[in-house]
Amino acid sequence: MKPSGKSELDSLYFEYPNYPFQTPPEMRGEKRAHPVVIVGAGPVGLVAALELARHDVPVVLLDDKASLNEGSRAICVSRYNYETFQQLGVVSAFEEKGLGWTHGRCYYKEEQIYRLKMPHSNEERFYPMYNIQQQYIEKYLADAALSSPNISIRWQSKVSGIKAQSDGVMLDIETPEGPYQIIADHVLAADGARSVVRKELGLRLKGDSYEGRYLIADIQMQSDFPTERRAFFSCPVLGDSTVLIHKQPDNIWRIDYQVEGNTEDAIKEGNVRSSIAAVLNFIGESAPWELEWWSIYNASTLCLDDYRHGRVTFIGDSAHLVPIFGVRGLNNGIADAVNAAWKLAYVIKGWAHERILESYTPERRGATLDVFKSAGKSTRFMTPPTRGYRLLRDAILSLTPNNSFAQPFADPRQVSPYTYSASPLTYESVDSTEFSGGIVAGAPIVNMKVDKENYLLDYLGLGFSGIYFCDQDSAPDALTKLSSKLAVGSEPFKLLVIAKNEFYQGSLTVIEDATGSIFDAYGAEDGSFYLVRPDRHVCGRWQNFNQNEVSQSFQMALGGIVE
């Protein structure tokens, strides 16, 4: 919602682009074959398009709007997804704009009771979390998509019907110039919480909705307070409700507060303004401020039973809705998009067996169910549903300053990347139990610092990569032969050698690790090996490189041998 007198796309700081409708070839009577059509050019659809394009698959992206989504909506992007943005070649814009953060503060009534510190070290390139408005996220992704020769975005094109058949999917599309149909081999439904594709296919999200509602609002205000997450429990100025405050770029501040009673009253502009004024007064901000945008939110844990329906795959909010606490909506949506897109690209290219697509639901629905496990707990803490829950929550908060055992309750349980341990693509090597630390199979790699300017991710390939740890002056023959065996189509296998000593091997990419910090982060010894998927997740790892097992793991990660 916008202040009275302002239209949807009026903003204090952001200029919404206007994307014209262009007559598609189908409306000129031309027949076109489309390997993939993505419905919805929000952040999730755009990431999927960029990932497909990265693997050289042409994509058509349909969106009913003539611009980006209105309002700042999701504002937190995790380190994991900054790494994804790096792989998609768009991270520099995000780094320039986003506000990285590592700390938070938790208050109970008037007092600060807990200082949150997220795990972070100087060995990592990106901060654990960044605040950036969704408009910018969409803008940077759309700019990249619009300049990609593999991506064609069709704005002002609304999907109104879908017919999913065994050999393809037909979509009915409405445009300013009339309707047309498009046929695709595969469809990615990134059309959000109110997905038309989901509805047209007669599919339903299942799960629970919670009572507690939050008003989320953005204001523009000059303030020197650093970028930290502030959570106020029992905030005395808003009838003891919970308040969350985040800083965003362009002097925009996000204020979320719990709403009791009538929603219709709560969303009235006058009430929003007076609540915000009370909060600002409470935290000691006296600068003038302007209201930009607000919306109402209610926590739910809902998802589809299966994220795939024949040739249609659901990514992001069309597949699942999760509570905002922990910033998992957009972050998990982006992870869905990459996961579905690289697998689909490999199938379309004929590089992977179609079975690889069957790993999408267990991996990404697994991530959603993992969120659900903790979501109930964090929602009950943020918004106690009964007097009993409220009493215990307050008891914990009141204990927190002097009893460290109570602190984890106040921890916001932020998003962390999901480990695909139970995935059909993940390989449990015979000697994996010998690792005393490092990164387990199914988890994403850690982007360790290599030298002053470079990090591990800068060396990874477009497709699969291998990381070999070496304390000798050369690598075994079997390893050097691996690269040619594990190339996939036009995507070479990228083999990295992390060497503790000076190392001579002309054709290999060698990273010097004199301090052993990369060895330590990976729990590696001389001869350890990690096989890494295009999405940075570890297929399998070996304390002692084993050529046969690595080949098996590689085939498994491609869904089996392509006949």
Binding site: L392, D394, A395, L399, A406
Partner: protein, 62 residues
Amino acid sequence: MNVAMKFEDLEKVYDLLAEAIDRVGPDNEAIFLSKVCLVLSHKIGDLDLVEESIKAGEQNIV
């Protein structure tokens, strides 16, 4: 397993709790008692024992 408290000590707990409840006042007695339960639970470190105690506390109320 923990050994049950001596009766003389339990008598002291009786007095200590009564006096603390009076000190925090009627508005805070519920949160005070919840805090004490949480601290004791943390120190006891035995979920079954705590569950048993909660059930025992719930008996004969009303």
